[in-house]
Every structure is written in structure tokens, then in C-alpha cells.
Symmetry: C2
Subunit: 563 residues, 2 copies
Amino acid sequence: MRDPLKVSLAQVDYTVNDFDQNAARIEAVIASAGSTDLIVFSELALSGYYPQDLLLEPDFVDRQQVALERVLSASRGCEAHLVLGLVTRHEGIGKPLRNSLALIHRGEVLLTYHKQLLPTYNIFDERRHFEPGGRHAALAHIRGWAVGFLICEDGWNDEELDYAVNPLEDLAEAGAQIVISINASPSNIGKRAQRHRIFGLASQRYGLPIVYVNQVGGNDQLVFDGASFIAAPAGLVFESPRFVESCQTVEFTAEGIGLPGGLPLPELAPALPDCEFYYRQILLGLQDYCRKIGFRSVVIGSSGGIDSALTLALAADALGPENVVAVTMPSRFSSAGSVDDSVVLCERLGVKLFEHPIGALYDTYLGGFDAAFGVPASGLTRENLQARIRGAVLMAYSNHFGHLVLSTGNKSEISVGYATLYGDMCGGLNLIGDLYKTEVFALARWYNEKAGTDVIPRAILEKPPSAELAPDQKDTDSLPPYEVLDEILKLRIEGTYLRPDEFAEASRFVADLDRRDGGELHRRVRLLIARSEFKRKQAAPIIRLRGRAFGTGRQVPLAAHFT
Amino acid sequence: MRDPLKVSLAQVDYTVNDFDQNAARIEAVIASAGSTDLIVFSELALSGYYPQDLLLEPDFVDRQQVALERVLSASRGCEAHLVLGLVTRHEGIGKPLRNSLALIHRGEVLLTYHKQLLPTYNIFDERRHFEPGGRHAALAHIRGWAVGFLICEDGWNDEELDYAVNPLEDLAEAGAQIVISINASPSNIGKRAQRHRIFGLASQRYGLPIVYVNQVGGNDQLVFDGASFIAAPAGLVFESPRFVESCQTVEFTAEGIGLPGGLPLPELAPALPDCEFYYRQILLGLQDYCRKIGFRSVVIGSSGGIDSALTLALAADALGPENVVAVTMPSRFSSAGSVDDSVVLCERLGVKLFEHPIGALYDTYLGGFDAAFGVPASGLTRENLQARIRGAVLMAYSNHFGHLVLSTGNKSEISVGYATLYGDMCGGLNLIGDLYKTEVFALARWYNEKAGTDVIPRAILEKPPSAELAPDQKDTDSLPPYEVLDEILKLRIEGTYLRPDEFAEASRFVADLDRRDGGELHRRVRLLIARSEFKRKQAAPIIRLRGRAFGTGRQVPLAAHFT
């Protein structure tokens, strides 16, 4: 006999290692959830995902225990069952910890389940800390429903990932009537569609509804989009909002799935257009990075180019223009537009702009170089000096006024090393470093369309890309056009991590190109990527937006042979 | 019936991803090995250890195949069996590759074995790329001997690591009379003793001799010391030289283990004193980093302090003083000794010293700051500006002359963030970043003793440590004495990765300290470590010397809560 079962999807923004704050947020959700039978929090909810080597600290589980006690205590005052993710100790052979799930009711842990499939690819490294759980179907009966439990990767045993065990199938065979999956699934372009496909197919295959609850918020490079959902055999029936905290309740009855009180579920929101997705992910990533680290304001070098203009616009929207400062640092190689376009841009954004010319410093460096080393500095040296002066000026502003420096390199430049280490690469965070140059243009155009006016001046959008470090310099002097470069980069950097449509397009494009020039340009770009690895090793964290971003998702040696 | 079995331990310096060069080195060993029955190369010999995400490139195994064909071809011309490590494809469920061993004879692969225990701790991350081999005892009969095969971690199932499978025990039970273990075991202080203890105990427990062959050479942060050895039930009987390539042959007979022709084995070399160990590991690390990346010379900022003095001395020994350049960059806060001591030091080392005063640049920066931002730069801003000017001068030298910049921070400073990002942290490699300040002093004193004269001037060894960025500044103005700080750091950064004697000492010291001040200083140091994580994320690679070094061996989030 199945009574209606009300399930609440609690999509919370946790801070890693902040057990007090995480417990407080969970308590607040419990207090305000209203009438419900089961409140579902996400994977490693007590600690936030992912604590990395903080897990190795001997007092980690003890500190988590204090948060768990608070949640147990809160559960005593509520009717509902709670489900949440936490770290548990493992006494047997192997790693001393497990990534676990607890079902809690009225101050008691009714059931503990240990994640069986631990991901070890891309940005995931869970085998470093956790022992996998043994094969086990975790089920509990709640209001007459056989509810099964899974943690994240446990549900991803699809054709691509191909594990020897299929915990979802095991739950279905053990008689689950509904499956609860708790997750910490980082967001990137195409990820939501992938989740819907995999869990949609699984729901259909096993004839079971699956409640998928994700955390939300930015943690270093990673942004979690929330977007918790319910997959039913007939298709997706419910989705929580993206990029915000939420707790919504859905009712399962013998007849189907609806809102409590028999109301129909709201219509599903459509997928976000790519640019809107990037925009919202970057905003949340920056907001949370600042909040969790303790910055309220940022400073950005404004070159009059598209990268810094877009970064300024995104930062102004994320933090409020009053918390964003721009500095224009013209040199003798800067075009007139460098300052003028920065002035117009910052006026339109409402951002304070400082002007700090670098000519005197540049001349002093060149004179000192000649005097100390007996030769005039070479062209490349001069170019890098300008970038390093600008980096030092921004860092001085940051040291004095306490603003976080945002670096402004895009993925195309970072891929081929078209950036100066300790120069324009200075900064505590990079908002657009996972967008290819062609995407930077697209996002800037989208930004203006959204605003209904050219907030980013047309002059910035239309000038040919240039570092302006030498007379009449253009990016295309030393790089292929970005439309060509970006397709090669997509294939070389991301490959099968691309969305299927992007992979097909890039593969076709590069195959054509290779046929035309015998692979010449492709080889040159490959070498540029390899030879600039040392720069990326020392780069600021980049907010991850795409399938494979620079950072922990791509680990390449330096002292290696490259052809 | 067992004939004498001659086994050659081929300890080779491979370059990651350089299949041609690695094959050529293996061919050269085969050609010059002389009379032998079995030549043992190390783990992943064809590709070098560790290729990281280059393993994900679709043509990796195909490119390796060319090297394998060359080795197969070379084996046709020789009597001996060959054993080496390589990557193989895995067709079943799970990761598409395995970390494997091949036994080769006369152009044929007689046996392939797949590593069962894949390490996922400290600097190891093999689950990211490899599927473990199934439980299997790999044995071959060579000249009447039952020879068993293992790969690295397979032999490390001791009380600490505690895996569910024990491949060494399985080999013993399957009747192995001798075990060949191929390894890529990075070197750190205490590691050699640990290897001897673990394999010595295993040899004794199973009554089997174990031939342990390791690679040698530097790969990014990691240095492999070679130090291949043979553990026999009665104890260690043979060891290859450390930090150099070698191929030596040992003969197993029914009576025991000796050199070919019945000669007795040479006496074992004693353990290296700590300082000599650090010295040799750093030299090889720098030499290989330069050679494999393509640098021949380095440039170092010489402050007149102990860190840069030691770095200069080490670099001069590693690359020859003619390939080392020093730059002294005095400011108004520099002591007279800053330049004078650098002059004496560089004369004694035979290193070219340039002087590049930074006063004019410093004044220009301060004037520009005031003019642009309307206030004079704060004290901290001024300190960082000096460090950043020096960094930019060194990078300009590097850009113009093609020398690699070596950064000079020690582990104590890097731990607490007592260093300027994009300033003194500039550089492509750091030689002493895994030595605490007290160890830097010890190594400098040892260096002078070894030389029999004060190559590093007494004035440098005796002055109190100071960044010299403000009037009369001393490190102890803002940090506890290094004797105290370093014990806290050892415990917080390395903990149980310390050598047992160090762990005991640091634990006792810190427990005493905590009792005396209620944990106040300990808490302060913990916060300093946490709050400087963003600097370490952008630091140059540090040659790893100790159990737990900054880099991939210690992975900590930024946007987290720390108390």
C-alpha cells in the first residue's frame, strides 16, 4: 500500500570544509521545507564537494561529526526523513574513508550506503581518498514505497563509462520503486543534456523514477549548476532552477508525479542558449569564489580589447559595478582606442577607470637592462616587459586596496602560449579562460543584445585582435585566424570531451585542413600547445565551462618530448 | 635442474614520450650488456614514467609500438631474455589501458603481465589511466629457474598500504624461485630505507630473492634515484649506484648470489648522509630538467642571502659555472652585504655576476602609483613592488639570453606565504623549495665542508634571515624562529609522510609547544599555510626531496573554510 510520498529536492551551496555553515544551511532548509516526507541533500553535503587532501587531515571526520550531530538534532523536530552525503570511516583493508550516504529519521541514522563507483577521470580523483563500497543495493521503505539510494557516479554506468558493476540495475532488481541519487556534478556546456540522456534512458530501461539532486555553487574552478531533476520512464518531468539554491517538493502517488495536493508539475524550462549558459556559470563562479575566499571587489586591466571588456562586463554584473575597478595602462604602442574605448566601456558599465601610463617605467626598464647587461633588450623582451609592468601595477593596486585581480586570457591564447607569464597572466581568477576567442566574441555580442544596447562599444567588437606590444602588431601576424585555430584547439585540447556536435564539426574541419596542407598547421599548433605548458602550470585558476578545461582536468608533463 | 642465471639490472634515464630516444637507450644497453641471461628494464620503460594525460592521446600506443618493434628487433641478435614495462591496450570493461610488463626473447613476447595494484596517493594517480590486471601469478622458466614478475606497487602490500591482493605472496605460492620487480619509484629522503625494509622483509617472509630494478633521472618535480637492488632472505646483497645510469650483472646459482664467474658481490655502499642525498638529487633533477626541456643555462637573482647563495652553488655544480648567471639587484633597503657578499660568492663559484640596481624603477613605480591612484603606496605594496621589479628583470634576462630562471624560495617560506607571487616566485624551476629553512642552512654548511673552504661566504651563513624589503627588516619580525616554525610545518605539511624519526621528533616538539601556549602559534601557522595556498597554486615546479612536497603530492582547495 503506497501513500503519496512527498520528496523535497534540496539544492544547496556548500562551502568546502565549513562544517558550521553547511550544517546551518541544512538546518535552515529543514526548518522551512514545510510538509514533506523526504528531504534530499546532495553528495558530501556536510563537507562540500570536493575537500581534496583536507580529507587526509586526521581530524576531518571528527570535525564533520559536529555538523552531523546538528543535523541529527534538527531531524528530531521534523516528520520528514533526510538523505545526505557525508564522509565515513572505513576500518577494513584499503583507504580509510568512504564517500557515503545516510538516511536519517528522528535523530537516528536508519541506513548508510557507500558509493561503489568512484570516478577517476577529468577533474575527478576519488580513488585518492576513498575506498569503494562493496556491491550492495541500499533500500528503505518510506510510506509504503521501496526507495533505493545511489551516489552520483553509481548512476553513470552507461555505454561510455562502462563499469563492471551497475548499482542502478542492482537497485531495480532488488525491487526499488523510486531511486534517489545524490550528486555533486560539476557543470559544463553539454553536461545537463548528458545527465538527462543517461538518467532518462536508465529510468526508461528500469521503469523507475529517479530523483537526481545536485549541489549548486562555485568551488575554485568548478561551478555546480544545481539543475536537480526527476527522470521518469516517460521522460523528464521536473527540474529545479539552475545556478541558485532551491528546495522544491514533488509528490509521488500511485497515479504519477505531481506537485503536493495533486497539482500538475510546472512546465520544464528550456535549455539555456550557450551564451546565456556561459554567462550564468561565470557569474556564479566569480560570486562564490569572492564570497568563499573573502573578497568583495576586483580590479581588471582594461586594454581596449575584447577579452578585458568582456571580463569587466561580467564582473560588473556579478559583483555590482561599484565593486569593479578598471585600469588602463597605455604605452607608446597602444592605439588611441586603447584608452578611449576603455573610457566609453567603463562609463557604460558604471565602473571606475584609472589611467596609469607605463611609458616611464618601460623606458626605465630598457635603460636599466642596457646598463646592466650591455645590450639593448630584444623585441620579445620588450613585449614581455610591457605586459609585466602592467601586471605589477595591477598587483600593486590589489595589494594596496584589497581587490582581487582578474586575469583576462581566453582559451585560444592560453592554449598556444600567446600570453606573458607574470604579465597579463597575473591574477587570482580568470573568468573567460575556458572560452575560445571566437566564443569570447559571441558572448560579447550576446551581452550587448541582452542589454539592448552596445554596452561593449562596437569599436571594441570590431577591431582586429592585437596585443599592442609592438608597432602595428596584430594577433594574425603570428597566429592563424581564430576561426581556424579554434577548431584545431578544440580537437587537440578537448577531443572526445567535446559535445558530440562540436566533435563532429571540429573533426571534419581539421581533416579538411590536414588534407589541404599536409598537416603543417596542425603540427605547428600542436607544438605551440606543448611548448607553452610551463605557462599554464603557473596560471591563475580558470572557471571551468567546457568539457575539458585547463587545470586538474588536463595533466601534462613538462620535461617530455613533443612532436 | 638449475643452471647459473645471470641477471642484468638496467637502470636507464628515460624521457617521457620520447619513444625514439628511449628505444635507442634500451638498444644500447642490450648491445653492451655482455654475457647475460636476463636484462631487466624498469616500469613503463618505453614511454618513461609518468606520461600523465599523454596516455589519453589516441595514438599513444601506436607510437609506443614503433619503439617496441625496435626492441624486439634488437632482441633477435642477443641470447638474453629481456623484461620491460610498457603500456598495453585493454579491451574489456573499464579503462582502455594497462600498465604492463613484457618478457621478450628472440623477437617474441613470451609473457605479458598487468600491474594489479595501482597507486592512488601522494604523487601517484594511476587509476586515472589504467585498469588493474586481474589476480594472476606471472611465471616463466629461464635456465631452469621459476622466475616470477611484478610491477612496482605490486610488491608494496605491507602493513601500511594494505591491499586486498598480495601479488608477491601469490608468486611465492605459485612456486617462484626468484622474483623480478620492475619499478618507477621516485626518490625522497627515507625512501631507499623504506624500499629495503619492505622488500627485505618480503624476501625473508617468502624465502625468495627479489631483483628490484628502478629507473633513474629527473622528470619535472620527480627524481628517480635508480638504486636498483637485490634483497635476499638473509638481507640486502647488492645495490646499483644511485643517481646515474648503470647496467650490472649478477649471477644466481644454487649456492647463492655472486658476480658472474663466481666472484663475490662488492660491498654495499653506505646510505648517503641527508645533505649529500639532497645535493645529488637536486643536481640530477636540474640537469635532467634542462636537458629534457632544452635549456643549457640558468639565471638566478642573488640577494646576498642563504637561499639564493645555495641555489647558485647547486646550479654551478650541476651545469658548470659558465652556464650560470647571477644578478644582484640592490635597493635602498639592501644591506651593504647584499652586493658585496654576492660578489665574493660569485667569484668563488666562478659565476658571472651582473648588477642591476632597482632604485630608479622603484621610484618610478611609486610615483606612477601615487599619480594614478591618488595615494602613496602602502608598506606591503612597496615590499611586493621591489620583489616584482626583480622578478621582471630576471625574466627580461631570460627572454633576451635564453636562460632558465631558477626561483629560490625554501619550503618554510613557501609554506607560510612569505614570498611575493610574480616576484621572487618567478622562475621555471625551484631547487630548494622542498627544504625547510633549517635544512637550507645545513646543506649550505655541508657544501662548504665538502669543498673544504667557505665557498658560500661565512657572512651569508651568519646573517639573520631578512627579505630586505623595508628598513632593518628581519624574518623574525613576522615569523617565529625557523627552528620552531619548521617543526610545526613538518607536522602540518607532511605529517605521517615524514620519516619515522622526524615524525616522532616533530610530534613531541609541537605537543610541548601547544601545551605551553594553548596552541596559539600552531593555529597561527595553520592559518598562514591555508591563506597562502593561492600562491603555491601558481608557483614554479619544485624538485621533490621529501615525503610530501608541494605540487601534485598535496592537493588543497582554495575556496574553502580554514580555522
